[in-house]
Assembly symmetry: C2
Homo-oligomer: 337 residues x 2
């Protein structure tokens, strides 16, 4: 038995023997090719880091594994480097854990890892270490990934919820909910389909664009639970409230249409390539300008404001009314990342 792209993953591909070796050398290593990935070593030695290290980790269990605009491979890269980017860091290295189900098509694995490698390449990060486990049929939904990212903080960067003040503005870098909606449509469980692409992408150009702007308080990529959930975390951490202006929040027609049909709120749907930033009142216009000058920020908008007279997330509706966005208990769209 040899590992070939036509075959299926078997339990023995995860047991440390030569079949695992072959899988790693034939399928995984070429897709992640870089001089720092030494599959003979238990641990990767990295050059000295210039700047303070920043580290983050994420698990990925999205269903379906491939969706319009991305797949679990590219999503894992984007999701991880975005967590570094919104912390004010420049991502440098990734590690990769694979949990693969017995019976998974090797050709599909190769495709997903290739996509992961391309996403890493195009954002200038390298995969330096990895681990593969194979689970018995029925004990793993195809493939799960875990990626850990390491970067370094740009000098002088100091972002955090603790810096947020009443009167600060809320910015988003583009239309919200595209990823959640695209993945949901790809499941075809509601009999809906569309041409919407996930927004899965690196947000590094967006976060770098705001570098050096004094009034940047905090950035976050609104993934699981969407914009409203990040807003709630902010309220909880600061004791402040957030007003969001429905009219100002960019939502694509397709996302709006799906939400209207199914009764979803786009504010709770995941993005995987957007940034929410809290910026001082005085610097908000120049932050917006910097974003709008980028292709990824052409639909950026100032969508709300930090309030001291309440501690909820309140939506000012298009009709001028106010509606409290309740904190999410259970996501209507599980497994979107």
């Amino acid at each position: 038995m040899a590992t070939s792209e036509e075959g299926l993953i078997e339990l023995c591909h995860g047991n440390g023997g030569w079949l695992m070796h072959e899988l790693i050398e034939d399928i995984i290593r070429p897709a992640l090719a870089n001089p720092m990935l030494d599959t003979q070593l238990d641990a990767a030695k990295l050059p000295a880091l210039e700047g303070l290290p920043v580290i983050t980790t994420d698990g990925f269990t999205v269903q379906p594994l491939e969706f319009p605009g991305g797949d679990i491979g590219s999503l894992a890269v984007h999701g991880t480097i975005n967590d570094l980017a919104v912390s004010g860091a420049v991502p440098l290295y990734l590690t990769l854990n694979l949990f693969i189900e017995e019976g998974f098509e090797i050709s599909r694995l190769a495709r997903l890892i290739k996509s992961l490698g391309q996403a890493a390449d195009s954002t200038g990060v390298v995969v330096v270490a990895g681990d593969t486990k194979v689970l018995p049929r029925g004990q793993c939904g195809g493939i799960y990934l875990a990626t850990t990212g390491i970067g370094t903080l740009a000098p002088g960067t100091n972002l955090g919820m603790g810096f947020v003040q009443p009167g600060d503005k809320v910015l988003v870098s583009g239309p919200i909910g595209d990823h959640g909606t695209a993945v949901m449509l790809a499941r075809e469980q509601f009999g809906l389909s569309g041409t919407l692409l996930s927004d899965s992408a690196s947000v590094l150009p967006l976060t770098l664009a705001l570098q050096g702007l004094d009034g940047i308080r905090f950035m976050r990529d609104p993934t699981r639970g969407g914009l409203a959930t990040v807003a709630y975390e902010l309220c909880r951490a600061t004791g402040l409230g957030i007003n969001l202006w429905q009219e100002a929040i960019p939502v694509s027609d397709q996302v709006r249409g799906v939400c209207d049909l199914l009764g979803y709120d786009p504010y709770y749907l995941a993005c995987e390539g957007r940034v929410m930033a809290i910026v001082s009142m005085s610097d908000a216009p120049s932050a917006l300008k910097r974003w709008q000058a980028l292709p990824a920020g052409s639909h950026a908008a100032i969508v709300g404001e930090i309030q001291s007279n309440h501690s909820r997330v309140v939506l000012t509706t298009d009709y001028g009314g106010e509606r409290i966005l309740e904190e999410l208990e259970d996501d209507p769209l599980p497994r979107i990342c």
Copy 2:
């Protein structure tokens, strides 16, 4: 519905809403308590690293989740820091990914995370970032972990398979196969039981003990596939052969008994707290002495030698014969880590 230790994990515990927040704050955070784990941040900011960074990552899918001498929580810590330690590094930080199956007992999760936290504490590493995903019932065997470890290389450390030379000695720090055998006995699938404990432990005291010894070429913790598999990786990388001396290899009576009964070779069984080291002929005796002076190394032994006249792993048996240890294709004991 509130998160309590009596309850079961539900899908909503992984969806980014307040139930996930509660799970993290009530169950996970206290067990990993350290000032650097800030659950409000997407990424952890670390102090500047003194020395070159070393990074490794591992997935853990062991069955059963709890076994004599350890559990998946402590095993994840040991497995990850050991990969750093055998690279000549001092482990500093861990990140943690949880993949939990819907219906998993929260009290059990709390117990496993507590064990993980204690193992980290006792080896001086801190968990600085994490991520939790919940999978639908039947799509995850209880719980899978992925841990990434960061450490720094001790100055002057230069280990690697490339340094190995004919005539070098092979050392092991203690009896082999305890972990694999203990986990197998815990499954009770063969109707066997015993008092054997897994050797799951940090090997850092062992690797630090060899620091500064010129003749250290390479170290590895023989986990999946055991001593024979590490030996084969070494042969493949160097083109050299390895002779192992059956008589010299420490194997506990219980492991030997189980192997005799079931027809296993202990050389393929996993350890999770042992080191295999390749040391120059002249420094091998002092390396052995350093190990034997430690509680974890009291059964350390010189068990073989690097050869240039073949490129296989050859066992000199107790009866003076020679037997090629074939390279493992499929592990008789899957999911031991």
